[in-house]
């Protein structure tokens, strides 16, 4: 590794973050990040399974087109994780 990072690249000085919980496990968020980005950054690459074959799904198109990344936040189902901005205290449930 070169020590390169996106933060270094753009000279970011992120504000203090907050946490959301994914099946009870804390995941850090920089204010403004989407639920999908926060999960992906935390190494969680999949948060739902398909209804026929139980295939695991996470981010695919990343811009709201494919609906692969559907997620349940605070009990609200079928939100696109790639478009849904994370808020402090959000509870994400995977399936």
């Amino acid at each position: 590794m070169t020590g390169a990072s996106p933060y270094r690249l753009v000279g970011a000085r992120p504000e203090p973050g907050f946490e959301i919980r994914v099946d009870g496990r804390p995941v850090p968020v920089v204010p403004g990040q989407t639920v999908g980005a926060a999960l992906h950054a935390a190494g969680i690459r999949t948060w739902r399974t398909t209804r026929f074959d139980g295939r695991r799904r996470g981010l695919f198109c990343g811009i709201g087109v494919c609906f692969d990344c559907l997620v349940t936040v605070n009990g609200e189902e079928n939100l696109r994780a790639c478009l849904t901005e994370a808020r402090p205290g959000d509870e994400v449930t995977t399936s």
């Binding site: 695919f60 609906f67 478009l83």
Partner: protein
């Protein structure tokens, strides 16, 4: 019909380069303009910005032509910028003009914007082709990896393979490498992107290509042509891909395969314009240089539907420079039409027209240089999913064909690809190609999923609902 709160002279859907340019031109000329975008920040896909919470001191480091974005953003004048607005339908309004129906906010509430004229600048999304394993977590679109980086400052993976076709693979690979990913290879199914004679007619583009070459070299990223990722593997998540040497039709050569370990694959085979709204509005749809559906416009960016204009990738994939120029032309035409004067009379019109022709010729040459070749179908196995949403494998598509389904629509009705959540946005083109057809324009009466409760609430809304 629904009531709406403010009547605008122009509603622009899409705040990418085209929409920003058009809104700025119209607002600075004194029109009341609403600029709507589904995203949380302006810029669209190309100039996607990280959240303010990062306080980036060098926000341009991830963008080519960032200065242009700043000019567009700062030139919006009195435009009302309506972010987090997802437009799901547009209908003619009582007494003329249009009612633009949106869902607003991250957790979605209904809102309607009224406008006399419309500009549709909804951009494009990655075109992806099915291959074995393409639905494993860790396989993403090239644009998705780029969005994660530009919009969230998250690197898609540690060891990344970039594959597909077209010059877009280069900025994806170089920005991932610059942000710390180990990019283990860029695999272009067509020929390597080189300084073809066409590129020399655009000195800026030639320099850009050289720049990517230097960056790939600096990060020691191998860039190989005539190679395609023909399978992705992993037990629940991506762990490696099979890269094949392919012929000019993209059929793998015998024995030219290598296995590459990676946790992420960023894949894209060009772009598909988002045409849901122009199709809904009944605008005539033609095809771009690669035969992909695109809104047909006159030289002032007017569609065939009165009062509706289109600019940017909606009119055919051509990149950010062309999109911004088309937005500028559309904005001027809207102003001229609103005032009842000829659009061609603007002093800048001749110069802009010449520049647009040059950029469009370059874009067409690129589209023709990076077509999708039919050999991709030889990568499929019977159990390869074609439709990710409805989990329809290639075998079922073949069965439908054997039962006599000779066109994409019949295949869809028999085997159900394209009937799930994404409504064929991802697999539609592949299904059309498997049916032996050119991809057709979309037929989606609703451009975004809407909850029935939101629809029901539309008729009962009071103005303070929007608070």
């Amino acid at each position: 019909m629904t009531r709406s709160e403010v009547a605008y002279d122009l509603a622009v859907v899409g705040a990418g380069p085209a929409g920003l340019a058009a809104a700025g031109v119209a607002a600075r000329a004194g029109l009341r303009v609403a600029l709507l975008d589904a995203g949380a920040r302006v810029g669209g896909q190309y100039f996607r910005q990280p959240p303010d919470g990062f306080h980036a001191t060098r926000p341009g480091a991830l963008h080519h032509g960032y200065a242009r974005f700043v000019r567009l953003r700062d030139g919006l004048g009195d435009t009302d910028v309506l972010l987090g607005h997802r437009v799901w339908a547009i209908e003619p309004a009582v007494g003329g003009g249009f009612a633009v129906h949106c869902l607003k906010g991250g957790r979605e509430r209904a809102a309607t914007v009224a406008a006399t004229r419309l500009l549709i600048a909804t951009g494009a999304h990655d075109r992806v082709l099915p291959f074995p394993g393409w639905d494993l977590p860790g396989v993403m679109t090239a644009g998705g990896a780029q969005a994660l980086l530009k919009g969230n400052l998250v690197v898609a993976g540690r060891r990344v393979v970039v594959a597909g076709t077209g010059p877009f693979l280069l900025p994806v690979a170089t920005s991932l490498a610059a942000a710390g990913a180990r990019v283990v290879g860029v695999f272009e199914a067509g020929g390597r992107f080189t300084l073809a004679p066409r590129a020399l007619t655009r000195p800026g583009k030639a320099a850009e290509a050289l720049g990517y070459g230097r960056l790939l070299a600096r990060h020691r990223v191998p860039y190989k042509g005539g190679r395609a990722v023909v399978a992705a593997h992993g037990d629940g998540e991506l762990t490696h891909v099979t890269v094949a040497r392919v012929d000019a039709e993209w059929r793998p050569y015998q024995g030219g395969h290598e296995t590459i370990r990676c946790d992420t694959l960023a894949v894209g085979y060009g772009f598909t314009p988002q045409l849901d709204l122009v199709a809904q509005l009944g605008c005539e749809i033609g095809a771009d240089a690669a035969g992909v559906p695109a809104a047909r416009v006159d030289r002032h960016m007017r569609t065939s539907a009165p009062g509706v204009y289109a600019a940017g990738e909606t009119t055919g994939v051509g990149g950010a420079d062309l999109a911004a120029l088309e937005g500028e032309i559309a904005g001027r035409a809207v102003v001229a039409d609103a005032r009842g004067v000829p659009a061609a009379a603007h002093p800048a019109a001749v110069r802009t027209e010449a520049r647009r022709r040059r950029l469009a010729a370059f874009a067409d040459a690129l589209l023709r240089s990076y077509p999708v070749r039919d050999g991709w179908t030889s990568w499929l196995r019977d159990d390869t999913l074609i439709c990710r949403c409805e989990e329809v494998p290639y075998g079922r598509v073949k069965e439908a064909r054997d039962l006599g389904a000779a066109d994409a629509r019949s295949i869809k009705l028999l085997a159900r690809p394209g009937m799930g959540w994404c409504q064929g946005r991802i697999c539609g083109e592949a299904v059309a190609r498997l049916a032996g057809e050119a991809p057709g324009p979309p037929r989606r009466p609703i451009a975004q999923p809407v909850r029935l409760g939101d629809l029901a609430a539309m008729n009962e809304r009071t103005s303070d609902d929007d608070a």
